[in-house]
Amino acid sequence: MSVRQALLALLEQGPMYGYQLRAEFERRTGSTWPLNVGQVYTTLTRLERDGLVAPVTGEPGADADGHVVYGVTDAGREEVAAWFTTPVERTQPPRDELAIKLALAVTVPGVDVGTVIQQQRSATMAALQDYTRLKRGRPSSPDDPADMAWSLVLDSLVFAAEAEVRWLDHCEARLRRAQLERPARDSAAQPPAAPGVEAQTDREGARR
């Protein structure tokens, strides 16, 4: 997971202690991925172990409240640079619960796949509307880089949700066609039923 790299990237901009790091992360990503502070400290410990960060020594090691302030090391700087220049790998598709659910729904008898799809689509659509509503409250071209960062993260969620809706649409269309073709195939002796054709003719003219 990239929390490690994300924290490293934040530290590159200046030394921070754990709480500060968490607050900054959430500000930049719009609280989309909540971090608990324990996760932050665990990660910082690992980073220190790997020699990528070190407690800042120029200062008294800890501020007045006794927080340990971390700074990035040269190795850490290299790691951050490498992270930014390497594309996110997609070799291992993330485990997707929805895909698994649909795959099972199609194969397990007695489940109404259509309903599954529709319910999911409504839910995703509602989420999409929520994201959009979040966007609506903000100016479309923010000047603050941090605002921009948040906005981009929001867009990523919007596009992901949209992709999911489109994928659901696609599943629905394929399932529907399969369902329409099945009776026709099963009863080949009957005069060719029209539904498939009908679906084809029901087009909206030549709009490109």
């Binding site: 909206e204 003219g205 030549a206 709009r207 490109r208």
Partner: protein, 872 residues
């Protein structure tokens, strides 16, 4: 809603659209402006060339106030304000002497009168003699200023001095030389002292000098130029009352109202048919212009269909859509009309010297008839308006949803318009048939009914296109594409095809009429004498035939000149009747020199219509002192004596002095053809019984005589005696005018066809650009565009020409009835109608011209396919 306000938006859209699509706008401008320009130029030229009464006052009366003419025997005149305007009505006993100068002057408050004598005299020329216009007046008097323009030399100052015009110099005379007048008693050798052009006529020879210089014989008539104060209409009427005709400056320039004119001259002579013909030509021209400009508006409407659909979506009503298209017609038509009128006036001004050089009379001042030009401009505007009406109507009815969804193509053709087309076509045919069966005036009815026929044809064009598109499946790609595209975009194809069709219909109809007329002339041609024979005849009784014969013999040394005798017509005439007093001939004539020819034995040379088997019988009868009486073709008379009645006249009074009836042994010969030849041949003995002595009445010239020789002989004869001439029978010869008219027709048809086809093709190509881009995208070669262009021209030109030819046959054939049938010529049976279809011309129009157009289009189309995206 204020109407003007409602038009503001459409007009703004139209103006911007015209500017955005310059090429198409210019096309429409040219289509409409050209006819306007031509008509304007012609109208201005005609008005300039026509010299109105007021304009010509100076030419006619110089600086005088009036010109008074009197003649013996006239005691009362009813004239229009301008007596030259036509037909003063005179009254008189024929004996009362004309009013004297004193009488005239007294009615003019004692104004000074200057006598003018005008007439014609003859000048000797190198080849013989020629008539010249002659004027005798004191040219030094200021009253004559304006009658002549001195161009070189000086005015005559002494008796015996004259001025001549350039045309006289062209005859071989020169300034300083003497004038050789041929009239008897002419003063010898008047001296030419200057060159003065007549202000009226330009090319006819003209001479002028002081009274007596030319020995003009104006016996019984006098003319005076009047000095003094203006001559009022009242004074004119007073002078009329004593028998004088007056051209008064004051009256001509400011004519009295019609109500003050004498009743006798108030009659209108126009019968309205001229107006009908003009209206007909106007309607035809309007249809043609509308059809030519139609495709441009159709394409313009298509280009705007997206805008119009958007307008509809934002709440525009169909009427507002219509207005947008109509507004573009108003903008373009208005500009075209103004430009056409403006350029027309300019063209006329520029061409004026050129036209003047080809005219025999001097033009009036440059004149622009604004009112008529306003009408011409209105015609241009109207044609644009009419051309836009159908596209506008279609645009207002378009399917907004389909257009917004990006679908193209016209709505399917309705069945109603072709039905209406059939009805109109039927009406046109019926009208033509009615016109053909009418005894007189059928031509106009046929021409008028050509209009519904053409309109009906236009309505049938979509049907034809649809039919073609249906059977086009096996055609090569480019042709198939062109046919289908033409069918899909009827709004622009139909007017283009119709324009071509209307042109071809007109040309075919006129062509059939012309060549049928020619066929009739050929079929009903009546030779005057036997082919190859020349006849010299004279209209003066006392002519020296021997002198004439020597003139002819001198010009034609290898020809044989034979004197022919006949009974002279001078102081009597003879009628010939059959044994029981019946009339023998429907008509006869003096083509051999006299109505009754004299011959003892051999028949006169040049005789026609006598069958070979009748010749011995006729010759025997003549040799035996009898006569030959001709009988109308198709009838026969049996018997052996004819009755001849000789009437004699007093040559002075014209009254019959007596008649003389004799019975003469006769051979009755039935003519094989109607002929304007003699009614009978008499032997000298038979003539003696009638109390008439046969005289020479003509010279027969046999042997080859060329046309050039004929002209030479005629000129030589004119020098010897005024009223003689040689006529050589050469059989039927096609009138040059017919051939020229056919060529002009074909040329005009070709230009209009080419114009219609070209505009439609290039508009179609620009309209089909997206499709062509698709073609190029799938790998069509650059030549394909040329191919498509040529195919389009073939479809438009070919379909139009074929339809037009078919429709043209209706009035064409119909018009041959009134044009070429007669109730019988010279007593012959009824002839005609004659029908001669100029197949070569039809073939040229229907096959050759479209093919040529296609080649031209193919050559000039840009072969590079446009690389534009499919935008609409």
């Amino acid at each position: 809603m204020i109407p003007l306000h409602a038009w503001r938006l459409p007009l703004r859209l139209a103006r911007r659209d015209a500017l955005r699509h310059r090429a198409r706008s210019i096309l429409v401008l040219v289509m409409i402006a050209l006819p306007v320009l031509a008509v304007t130029a012609a109208d201005v030229a005609i008005h300039t060339q026509r010299v109105s009464g007021a304009e010509s006052v100076d030419r006619r009366i110089g600086t005088a106030e009036a010109l008074v003419s009197v003649s013996d025997g006239v005691t009362d005149v009813k004239q229009k304000p301008d007596p030259d305007d036509c037909c003063p009505v005179t009254d008189g006993d024929g004996t009362t002497p004309a009013p004297t100068a004193e009488q005239v002057s007294s009615l003019l408050d004692g104004a000074t009168l200057l006598e003018v004598r005008r007439g014609e005299t003859e000048l000797r020329t190198a080849k013989g003699q020629t008539p010249v216009e002659a004027t005798e007046v004191d040219l030094s008097d200021a009253l004559t200023d304006g009658l002549f323009d001195l161009t070189s030399g000086r005015w005559p100052a002494a008796p015996g001095e004259v001025v001549v015009n350039q045309s006289v110099l062209d005859l071989g005379y020169r300034v300083g030389g003497t004038l050789d007048l041929t009239a008897e008693g002419a003063p010898a050798d008047p001296t030419i002292v200057g060159v003065a052009e007549s202000t009226t006529n330009r090319t006819f020879p003209s001479v002028a000098g002081p009274p007596g210089a030319l020995a003009l014989d104006t016996t019984g008539t006098w003319e005076w130029l009047v000095d003094g104060g203006p001559v009022s209409w009242h004074t004119v009427r007073q002078l009329n009352a004593i028998g004088a005709t007056v051209a008064s400056r004051a009256v001509i320039t400011d004519p009295p109202p019609r109500s003050q004119w004498p009743e006798e001259v108030q009659v209108e002579t126009d019968d309205g048919s001229t107006l009908a013909i003009l209206a007909l030509i106007g309607v035809m021209a309007l249809i043609e212009v509308v059809l030519l400009a139609g495709p441009a508006f159709a394409v313009s409407a298509r280009r705007q269909q997206r805008s119009l659909a958007l307008m509809a979506a934002t709440g525009g009503t169909p009427r507002q859509s219509r207005r947008v298209i109509v507004a573009s017609a108003i903008v373009l038509g208005g500009v075209a009309a103004l430009v056409g009128v403006g350029l027309g006036i300019g063209a006329s001004r520029v061409l004026q010297p050129l036209l003047q050089a080809r005219s025999d009379t001097w033009f009036g001042p440059f004149e622009v008839p604004w009112l008529q030009l306003a009408g011409v401009a209105a015609f241009g505007l109207l044609s644009a308006f009419l051309a836009a009406i159908v596209p506008a109507y279609l645009a207002s009815r378009q399917d907004v949803v389909a257009v917004l969804a990006g679908r193209r193509g016209d709505r399917p053709a309705s069945l109603r318009s072709p039905l209406l087309g059939l009805v109109l076509l039927g009406a046109g045919i019926a009208g033509s048939a009615a016109g053909a069966s009418q005894s007189s005036g059928g031509e106009l009815a046929i021409a008028v009914s050509a209009i519904p026929a053409v309109l009906g044809m236009i309505l049938l064009v979509p049907l034809v296109l649809a039919g073609l598109a249906r059977v086009s499946g096996r055609l090569p790609l480019v042709l198939r594409y062109a046919v289908r595209d033409a069918d899909r975009h009827r709004a622009r194809t139909v007017p283009a095809v119709s324009a071509v069709a209307a042109t071809v219909a007109g040309v075919v109809a006129l062509g059939i009429g012309l060549s049928s007329d020619d066929a009739e002339n050929q079929a009903t041609y009546l030779p005057s004498v036997a082919p190859g024979v020349g006849i010299v005849s004279a209209y003066e009784p006392d002519v020296s035939w021997a002198a004439l014969a020597s003139v002819v013999q001198r010009e034609l040394p290898h020809a044989t000149v034979t004197e022919q005798r006949g009974l002279p017509d001078g102081d009597g005439y003879a009628e010939v009747f059959g044994p029981s007093g019946e009339t023998l001939l429907q008509s006869s004539g003096g083509s051999l020199g006299a109505n009754i020819m004299a011959a003892d034995g051999d028949l006169p040379i040049g005789l026609l219509g006598v069958a070979a088997r009748d010749v011995p019988r006729a010759e025997a009868m003549l040799a035996g002192g009898g006569m030959v009486a001709f009988v109308s073709p198709g009838t026969s008379v049996s018997g052996d004596t004819a009755t001849v009645v000789q009437h004699s006249f007093d040559p002075e009074s014209g009254e019959e002095t007596g008649s003389h009836r004799v019975s003469v042994p006769a051979a009755f010969v039935t003519l094989t053809d109607p002929w304007a030849g003699p009614a009978a041949l008499v032997s000298t003995a038979a003539a003696r019984d009638l109390g008439v002595r046969p005289q020479v009445v003509s010279l027969a010239v046999t042997g080859h005589v060329s046309e050039q020789q004929e002209d030479d002989v005629n000129q030589a004869l004119a020098a010897a005696s005024s009223d003689t001439g040689l006529y050589v029978e050469r059989g039927f010869r096609a009138d040059d005018a017919t051939v020229i008219a056919q060529l002009v027709l074909i040329a005009l048809g070709a230009v209009l066809m080419l114009g219609g086809t070209l505009t439609a093709t290039f508009l179609a190509l620009s309209d089909a650009r997206p499709d062509l881009a698709t073609l190029s995208a799938v790998g069509a070669s650059p030549r394909t565009r040329r191919g498509v262009a040529a195919a389009y021209a073939v479809v438009v030109g070919g379909v139009g020409a074929a339809l037009g030819a078919a429709v043209g046959f209706i009035p064409g054939i119909a018009v041959t009835w009134p044009l070429t049938s007669t109730n019988g010529l010279d007593g012959g049976p009824p002839t005609g109608p004659f029908l001669d279809v100029p197949w070569l011309m039809v073939l040229g129009l229907v096959v050759v011209l479209p093919a040529v157009t296609a080649v031209v289009v193919g050559l000039f189309a840009r072969s590079r396919l446009p690389l534009v995206a499919r935008l609409d």
